[in-house]
Amino acid sequence: MSEFVLETRGLSKHYGGVHALDDANFALRPGEHVAVVGDNGAGKSTFVRQITGVEQRTAGQIFFHGSEVHFSGPIAARDHGIETVFQNLALADDLDVPSNLFLGRELIKLRLGPFSILDRKSMRQQTEQALVKTAVKIPNLTSTIRNMSGGQRQCVAIARAAHFASKLIIMDEPTAALGVQETAQVENIIRGLKEQGVPLILISHNLRQVFDLVDRIVVFRRGRIVASLNREETDGNDIVSYITGVKGNEDAYV
């Protein structure tokens, strides 16, 4: 086994002449929670899209638990135990909570090809367990997602990721559209994941949140990783200096 859960070497993504991501060297240790920060267009989301296979990288290598991987799409990444909470929620509005949690991997009572009978009871029970595990409070499991608040929907998306992710969770701005209490709820889920030792990559604009939650902060600027700092060794001003380019014009190796 490798000492890293995830490692990227020279990861690059060019859109035509634009170098959205350039030579990113990144590593994530077991149980570690890392925040990815940076200005808009710094390459944070591009970086995540290469890892989860939503886009195919221009150059570089990705190692997952020591072996090199080529994910053809998010489903392939998911099959390796990487769950992603996307900025635009991947939920079906007209389905209830258990159906959304098990979307695409429904539990089956009787296998009959496409007409396999759903095991609705088990899906419901496991949903309740998943919600208890992540301390998500959803008033009514049987109502459709459509009737829920943004925070509740986000919690369902995160509970889904947390329930199935065995090896790595990636969250892209999970609290960007949420209110104060809803944000606190999401942050509690993230703390719970830390206790369970599930590694996490968190993209966030919220420095207060980042300092509250993660072990290490990686700063992106103009498509390059310019800093990788342990939480204890840095502060908000320091991070902002890196984000804005006052500091760190040299590449950092993690």
Binding site: A90, L103, R105, L118, K137, P139, N147, E182
Partner: protein, 372 residues
């Protein structure tokens, strides 16, 4: 869930004992109201819409009318079942009516009898090899024909990514053309007794060993059986769940690992097969097939689904809703006939009801959205 009240995010309270009305409630109330209106209108003329008024007949209900209410929608109703699952999955099928025409011609060609009243069948399309075949042959040929049309629709929509409206519009024109081409526009008639019995026999008596009897209502029996079956499929199987997921958020379904393209092909194929089943009932009932059969059936089917609360945007709607929508459709037709109103008025009112149902649905959605 042990406690009755849970606290949601932000301290929201939710009372579990208060479950919302099922979405079909409104459709059912509308059906009852429309029925009551026709009953009152009939009473004003000294007759009754639903109840028996003839002294010579010992019955509470006007059974012939109840029978016709179900029978006259059972063929378009079966098509509407297929249209419902297509619409739930976010698509639309405009080709159903033309597929009825094509399937009718093809299936009937294999259901012909050799001798009619002692003479050779004047409408015989093929040689003796295709005469007096057992009824199962035209059934299989017909189902295959509908299946093929549906599969072409599905493959076009799933793999070329053209809008369902365009793909099925193309099939609508092509299938009607194929129906005309099949026999150069001539009707195909004189089916075997076995084929005629499919719709005109008494399957209920056969299935219940004489306990129940409903002669000549086989299309209605098939409609009810298929409605129950498809209702269970939509509710309790992966197939149904994925229809709702795809219609609700196709990108999310794709991202979740659902094979959306393959599912779409399956959905349209099943719609085609249901259309074929309806066609077999129709030709068996009519004892004849014409290329023009099933004209506008697709719109009737879509209208029934829409009246029953199936959303044109996908993701919402149930089979039960569509069945209730079909009954509303039928009660209106029978109601107008019972008060001796012209068929022209029927068409006009049908149009108004379809528009009204969508307006009501939009209004209901907006109200729900503003409440949460």
């Amino acid at each position: 869930m042990a406690d009755k009240q849970n606290h949601g995010i932000g301290g929201l309270k939710y009372d579990q004992s208060k479950t919302p009305w099922p979405p079909e409630t409104g459709v059912f109330v509308a059906l009852v109201l429309i029925t009551v209106v026709f009953e009152v209108l009939n009473r004003m003329h000294g007759t009754s819409f639903l109840f028996n008024t003839r002294a010579a007949v010992d019955a509470i209900f006007n059974k012939p009318r109840l029978d016709i209410i179900i029978l006259q929608v059972s063929i378009t109703g079966i098509i509407a079942l297929g249209a419902t699952q297509v619409m739930v999955a976010g698509g639309i099928d405009l080709s159903a009516g033309s597929v009825v025409g094509a399937t009718a011609m093809v299936a009937m060609s294999f259901a012909q009898t050799a001798m009619v009243n002692g003479h050779a069948n004047p409408k015989a399309l093929f040689g003796p090899w295709a005469m007096d075949l057992p009824a199962v042959d035209p059934i299989l040929v017909g189902l295959a024909c509908g299946m093929l049309a549906g599969m072409i629709n599905g493959v076009l929509i799933a793999y070329t990514r053209i809008p369902p409206f365009i793909a099925t519009l193309g099939m609508m024109l092509s299938a009607r053309g194929a129906a005309d081409w099949w026999s150069n526009g001539d009707p195909v008639s004189f089916p075997t007794q076995g084929y005629a019995n499919l719709a005109n026999g008494d399957v209920l008596k056969y299935l219940t060993f004489g306990l129940l009897s409903w002669p000549g209502e086989n299309p209605a029996v098939l409609f009810i059986v298929l409605a129950i079956l498809l209702s269970l499929v939509m509710k309790y199987t992966v197939y149904g769940k994925r229809c709702y997921a795809i219609g609700s958020n196709e990108a999310a379904a794709r991202m979740s690992g659902i094979n959306v393209d393959r599912h779409k092909v399956l959905v349209y194929t099943i719609a085609g097969m249901l259309t074929a089943a309806a066609t077999i009932m129709l030709t068996s009932k009519n004892l004849s097939a014409q290329a023009g059969m099933g004209m506008m059936y697709e719109l009737d089917a879509i209208a029934m689904a829409v009246i029953g609360g199936v959303s044109l945007n996908g993701g919402r709607g149930t089979i039960l809703g569509t069945v209730l929508g079909a009954l509303i459709f039928s009660v209106i037709i029978s109601g107008f006939t019972s008060i001796r109103l012209d068929a022209y008025y029927q068409e006009m009112v049908k149009g108004a009801i379809i528009v009204g149902a969508v307006v009501l649905d939009q209004w209901r959605q907006r109200r729900n959205a503003s409440r949460t």
